[in-house]
């Protein structure tokens, strides 16, 4: 990619910006290496100030007994010890894994189906696409409140309809029944989050060249074969990205659990952001413990991301 010849193309520029010259400095600046750092710099600044610094702050918090506004007292690993001895914590670990896995899996299946369907040719496709986006467009908090009410024992939509259709005698406590609560929450999460997958997959599907499919059909491949051997491999980077992002977003998302069940009944729907919130802001006001809970789940994500980016970065283009 040596560009030692001076072309006649000049970049549109005001004074003081880069001009294409064959000067040594300009070539230095436009070399991959400098450009790389330069391009990456703003992102790194944002990340250092707004994420890294608060993050290290929070890590230090996990070793302290600290309430709001008061200086923290260093207590070593006591927070971790207290956490590991707390049965609620282990329940939270199990819940978080189950909740995340189930939600992401369902979102994946529904999202991919929706994307495939929307990718087909039909009238009013644009309308369908926009309409199916609605769950994601509604502010999460309001969605959550609305669903809480839909699940309500007395005035809830579901119970009302079921009672009127005479399918049940007693109302079902969707959010208070320990066996149902988790599934009720997952249903809402899936309802709200599927459009994210749909959009991502749809964009991916639309960038797969039609010619690949045409060629496969000429070769006699069935619809299913085309799906497995063309669609999925082409979508792979997007699938990986979207699934990973959703895993993080879902497991760290507090709004649904907070509003629907606050972790109850009896911690059946307690997931880690809720537990962290409960410690830090829910009466005990123990910031150290809250940070400890959050920090505990962090390494799991790091490992996930490590493997993900290793795969992605390994594929070098040239």
């Amino acid at each position: 990619m040596a560009t030692s010849a001076t072309p006649s193309v000049a970049l549109p520029s005001g004074s003081g910006t880069l001009r294409y010259q064959s000067g040594k400095f300009s070539r230095f600046l436009l070399r991959d290496r400098t450009l790389g750092y330069l391009f990456l710099a703003p992102a790194l600044v944002v990340v250092l100030c707004l994420v890294a610094y608060p993050f290290f702050n929070a890590v230090l918090l996990t070793f302290q007994e600290k309430t709001a506004g008061a200086p923290g007292k260093y207590i070593g690993l006591d927070n971790y010890r207290e956490l590991f001895n707390n049965p609620v914590f282990w329940r939270t670990v199990f819940n978080t894994i189950f909740y995340t896995a189930a939600s992401v899996a369902l979102k994946f299946v529904f999202g991919l189906s929706m994307a495939l369907v929307l990718n087909q040719e039909r009238l009013f496709n644009n309308f369908y696409r926009s309409f199916l986006l609605i769950p994601w467009a509604i502010p999460t908090v309001i969605s959550a409140l609305n669903w809480r009410w839909i699940y309500d024992d007395a005035s809830g939509l579901i119970n009302n309809v079921l009672v009127r259709l005479e399918l049940i005698d007693e109302t079902i406590s969707w959010l208070a029944d320990p066996h149902l609560a988790m599934f009720s929450v997952i249903a809402v999460v899936v309802w709200q989050g599927t459009p994210f997958f749909t959009m991502g997959f749809l964009a991916g599907l639309q960038s797969i060249s039609k010619e690949l499919y045409e060629a496969a059909e000429i070769d006699g491949a069935s619809v299913i074969q085309q799906f497995w051997h063309i669609t999925i491999p082409c979508l792979q980077p997007i699938i990986v990205t979207v699934v990973m992002l959703s895993t993080i977003l879902t497991s760290a998302g507090i709004q649904f659990v907070l509003i629907l069940t606050a972790g109850g009944p009896a911690d059946r729907t307690m997931i880690f952001p809720m537990l962290s919130y409960a410690y830090a802001l829910g009466g005990a006001q123990r910031l150290g413990m809250g940070a400890t809970v959050s920090l505990f789940f962090f390494p799991a994500f790091v490992i996930l991301i490590y493997f993900l980016t290793r795969r992605m970065l390994r594929e070098k283009e040239i």
Partner: protein, 281 residues
């Protein structure tokens, strides 16, 4: 031969339509409930007999929202913060993602991972120290402050997403441009971005909607109505009185419109982008 081909095509089409109908119902029913509630009076909402079709449809709830609450201010705030944080994040992320996806420099892999790792830090961990920083900078209860706070989540997220898309753009296009005499910067602007338009649209849309829906930071960082966004402003009203469902649902309908309208507009760009950047074999 021809018959079976169109037969299987029709079956696929048929299944597609059936799935579509199911999906539409699944999306529509809760939304319908919200919509219908926004048209009911209080008594009808809270009665034990919840009605599926409003008996006395009314626009009173919308009037309450627009007249008795600073909803329009909340709307303005949400919009400003969402747009600003999206635009800034997009610029920063495009540059960063391009650097990681295409340029070769020492530490590339490490920095990429570092950048992406920061996305893993949950908001529940960050928000208190971040709030302390905002407070000290006198940025709490301001829209600038909230915008900056949203950058912390958007930049890693966008960079990561764009990284993925940039990598899937074939390098032949850029190579052609570079041979033609462009440098990296022009290659980015003139070649890669137009081809990635669908991805950019998707990322813009995600960022905007994330900011639109965000609750925790907005909740903690803003106290007065002048700076509150849709999510926190209305929730505050909601919990201020025992019964507020009607107006809250009215606000839901209003609040869902901007992202949907945005999407309707951007849909054309996605199509346009495709025809512009089609790669012919």
């Amino acid at each position: 031969m021809i018959r079976t081909k169109s037969g299987s095509q029709r079956m696929v089409k048929g299944i597609g339509n059936a799935v579509l109908v199911l999906m539409l119902l699944w999306t529509a029913i809760p939304f319908y409930w919200m919509f219908v509630t926004s048209l009911k009076y209080d008594k009808e909402i809270y009665g034990y007999e919840a009605t599926l079709i409003p008996e006395n449809p009314t626009l009173a709830n919308y009037a309450t929202i627009l007249r008795d609450t600073p909803y329009l201010i909340f709307l303005r705030n949400s919009t400003v913060v969402a747009v600003a944080s999206t635009v800034i994040s997009l610029i920063i992320a495009c540059l960063g993602a391009y650097a990681i996806a295409r340029l070769n420099f020492p530490g590339r892999a490490l920095l990429a991972r570092l950048l992406v790792c920061t996305y893993l830090v949950p908001a529940s961990l960050l928000f208190i120290p971040l709030f302390a920083i905002m407070s000290a900078l006198r940025l709490t209860d301001t829209l600038h402050g909230l915008t900056i706070a949203y950058l912390s989540g958007d930049v890693p997220f966008c960079t990561w997403l764009l990284m993925g898309y940039f990598k899937s753009v074939p390098t032949e296009l850029e190579e052609a441009a570079l041979v033609d005499g462009c440098n990296r910067v022009t290659a980015l602007i003139r070649v890669v971005l137009p081809v990635s338009l669908p991805a950019l649209v998707v990322v813009t849309f995600f960022c905007f909607t994330r900011a639109w829906n965000e609750f925790l930071y907005a909740y903690v960082f803003t106290s007065t109505n002048a700076a509150r966004t849709i999510t926190t402003g209305l929730v505050n009203f909601m919990s201020a009185d025992v019964f507020f469902w009607g107006p809250l649902m009215a606000s839901t309908i209003l609040s869902a419109l901007p992202p949907v309208i945005m999407f309707l507009i951007f849909q054309r760009w996605v199509v346009k982008g495709l025809t512009l950047g089609a790669v012919k074999g």
